[in-house]
């Protein structure tokens, strides 16, 4: 299906693959922020996941183990953040930035011996009947496991947040931590779990970059994906399905501008390059105009139980 010289059957899968890392990191961070915590260390957790995932995948030759260990690594790193901000009451913004630095530095050190090595890649899953549908088949139904997993996570989070008691408690903790505490909810414990979830998904997202999108390990390879994920959470007004939309929109424009360049469209390269960011700002302004602010009320405020 070709529109303006671009084959959508090729564009849509490329866009989905490009968006999956930030999608995973963003949905995790959305959960974290819904619980009232701002973790700016997403980039650090992603890159740690990328390096650990890569190392495990190369050593075991089974990519899925890599992803699993990446999730664990991301979660462990996030525990440091959780300990510092929830128990030691340190400033969340600064601690998150410190986490990014630690993650970047640590991953570069650990990954040094693995630079330039090839890793095993994920196979695409062919779903028996669905993959054969013309146009839609190759577009949506022929991806690797992690892409489907990411969409599943979005659905899961949407369900849990909106339809379960746990989700309600999470939201309560995020909106009004004092009230939630007064009602007997363990604010810090819930935030801890949310933070670990965010770390795990960020780790998987990072591993997707080093194992599927590129696939290679180089220091600093996430190249700001963590920041994009943070921006997407705000863009999505903390709503899970909007996170998916935002991630695909951003990934889509990024891939689109490359395709436009490849075709030779006469728009200056720099304008095409900045388009994803400009469009994000424009859409955000639009949302702010027509929607209302839904930031969790206790976002980034430290909670001290003895109040």
């Amino acid at each position: 299906m070709v529109i303006f010289g671009i084959d959508l059957v090729l564009l849509i899968p490329a866009l989905m693959i490009s968006a999956t890392p930030v999608l995973l990191a963003a949905i995790g961070e959305a959960v974290v922020e819904k619980s009232g915590v701002l973790n700016l260390g997403v980039e650090g957790m992603m890159i740690t996941g990328a390096v650990i995932g890569f190392i495990i995948a190369v050593n075991t030759q089974v990519p899925i183990y890599g992803f699993f260990c990446a999730a664990v690594a991301g979660a462990i790193l996030s525990v440091i953040f959780a300990l510092l901000t929830q128990y030691m009451m340190s400033n969340q913004v600064a601690t998150g930035l410190g986490l990014t630095m630690v993650g970047l530095g640590l991953s570069a050190l650990i990954g040094k011996p693995y630079e330039g090595i090839k890793s095993p890649t994920l196979a695409k899953i062919e779903i028996p009947i669905l993959s054969d549908i013309p146009i839609l088949g190759p577009m949506i139904f022929s991806h690797d496991a992690i892409v489907y997993f990411s969409i599943f996570v979005i659905a899961l989070v949407a369900f849990v947040i909106n339809k379960t008691r746990i989700g309600l408690v999470l939201r309560a903790v995020g909106e009004n931590q004092e009230a939630a505490h007064a009602l007997g909810y363990k604010v810090i414990r819930i935030r801890f779990i949310a933070i670990m979830f965010g770390g795990a998904t960020a780790g998987i997202g990072g591993a997707y970059i080093s194992l599927a999108r590129v696939p290679q390990w180089t220091e600093g390879m996430t190249a700001g994906a963590g920041w994009i994920a943070l921006a997407l959470v705000v863009f999505a007004s903390w709503k899970p399905w909007r996170v998916l939309l935002g991630a695909y929109l951003f990934g889509g424009i990024t891939v689109l501008q490359l395709n436009l360049q490849a075709i030779g469209v006469a728009i200056p390269v720099e304008i095409l390059s900045m388009s994803p960011y400009l469009v994000t700002i424009v859409v955000l302004v639009g949302i702010s105009l027509f929607g209302h602010h839904t930031a969790p009320g206790s976002l980034a405020r430290p909670f001290h139980a003895s109040q």
Partner: protein, 356 residues
């Protein structure tokens, strides 16, 4: 920490501070990227290791990687000079002004700046005629493509990159008049994720050959996944992707030059020169052409390589017109180095425009 280990540490620290290997010459290397990039910096570091191996105890080398261009570069070079370096290689164009500045402050230290154009009494410049390798790539590409579309991942619109595009295009078009070049500018020398995305976009647009002027193996991986796309290794052989998709490569071989210049410092014969070597002197290597290339094309490519090497063939030989239709080279006329060095125009036939 036990007192003993503190004491050991103190002694060792003093030892490290004062111990100087009794080498005759100290050579410093300033790298713009990581030595693990598998491309540009990796090859420079191979050159450094070759120097160490060749000279043994007589030469000590020091290096620093990931040095940003600008004030940081100046500081690193100054520190190296203050550490006693006698010869310093600065391996990126953006180090040009810092190199000149530091050279002024340390007139007894020799500097070698890669790909630049400013020299002074103690600053030499050196670069490689990569466009010679591009000619061979273009020839193979033109012959092997089935879709007649060649994708080019270009880094920055500087003369060196434009030269490469032109050289590849001229030779692809010679053997395949229907050839079309699609160029994506990624504005980085090394960014595996971006390079992978660019490669995929080019392949999605129908290219079955991908040329790159960026340093990672990401385009090779993307090509491998797509299947039936051929690529060429850039700056280093990237042989792990042979025989497909990597069918050949351009290898930067700095070792002979580095050894020669170090020798000159040892002998006291070092002078400021400008070196622009190609396949002949061995600075540009053509990687093993794989079996995926048909035998006749391989033979032609090797013949072209030899002709360029012994000077009987120049990749920029007329008749060639500029993209705007104006005349550039008459039949049989070859381009002078000056025009090549400042090349900021495409040759006739390339449809895109050079970014401003």
């Amino acid at each position: 920490m036990k007192f003993k280990s503190v004491l050991t540490g103190v002694l060792l620290a003093f030892g490290l501070g004062t111990a100087a290997v009794a080498a005759d010459v100290k050579v410093g290397f300033v790298y713009v990227g990581p030595i693990g990039d598998g491309g540009w910096t990796y090859e420079h570091d191979k050159g450094r290791l070759a120097v160490e191996k060749h000279f043994g105890d007589r030469v000590e080398t020091i290096y620093q990687e990931n040095v940003p261009e600008g004030a940081d570069a100046e500081r690193v070079m100054t520190t190296m000079a203050m550490q006693g370096a006698d010869l310093i290689f600065t391996t990126s164009f953006g180090y040009m002004d810092p190199t000149i500045n530091v050279a002024k402050k340390f007139p007894n230290v020799k500097f070698e700046h890669a790909t630049g154009y400013k020299r002074s009494d103690n600053v030499s410049t050196y670069s490689a005629r990569f466009y010679e390798g591009r000619a061979i790539q273009g020839h193979i590409a033109g012959k092997m493509t089935k879709t007649n579309k060649v994708g080019y991942i270009a880094s920055f619109p500087i003369p060196e990159v434009i030269r490469g595009i032109n050289s590849a295009y001229i030779h692809a078009k010679k053997v395949n008049p229907d050839i079309e070049f699609n160029i994506i500018w990624v504005y980085t020398w090394f960014d595996p994720a971006k390079e992978a995305d660019a490669a995929k976009a080019l392949i999605d647009q129908g290219a079955d050959v991908v040329l790159q002027h960026t340093d990672s193996t990401a385009p090779q991986a993307a090509a491998k996944e797509a299947g039936n796309v051929i690529t060429f290794g850039q700056a280093s052989d990237m042989g792990e992707y042979a025989p497909m998709p990597r069918v050949s490569s351009i290898i930067d071989d700095w070792a002979p030059y580095y050894i020669a210049r170090t020798q000159a410092v040892l002998d006291g014969t070092w002078e400021s020169v400008d070196t622009w070597d190609g396949i002949g002197p061995g600075m540009v290597g053509i990687g093993e052409i794989s079996d995926a290339v048909p035998a006749d094309v391989k033979a032609e490519a090797l013949a072209m390589r030899d002709a360029i090497a012994n000077g009987t063939y120049h990749p920029f030989t007329g008749p060639i017109k500029k993209q705007d239709g104006s005349d550039w080279l008459a039949a049989g006329e070859t381009s002078d180095d000056g025009t090549l060095l400042g090349m900021n125009f495409y040759v006739e036939g390339i449809t895109a425009e050079v970014p401003k």
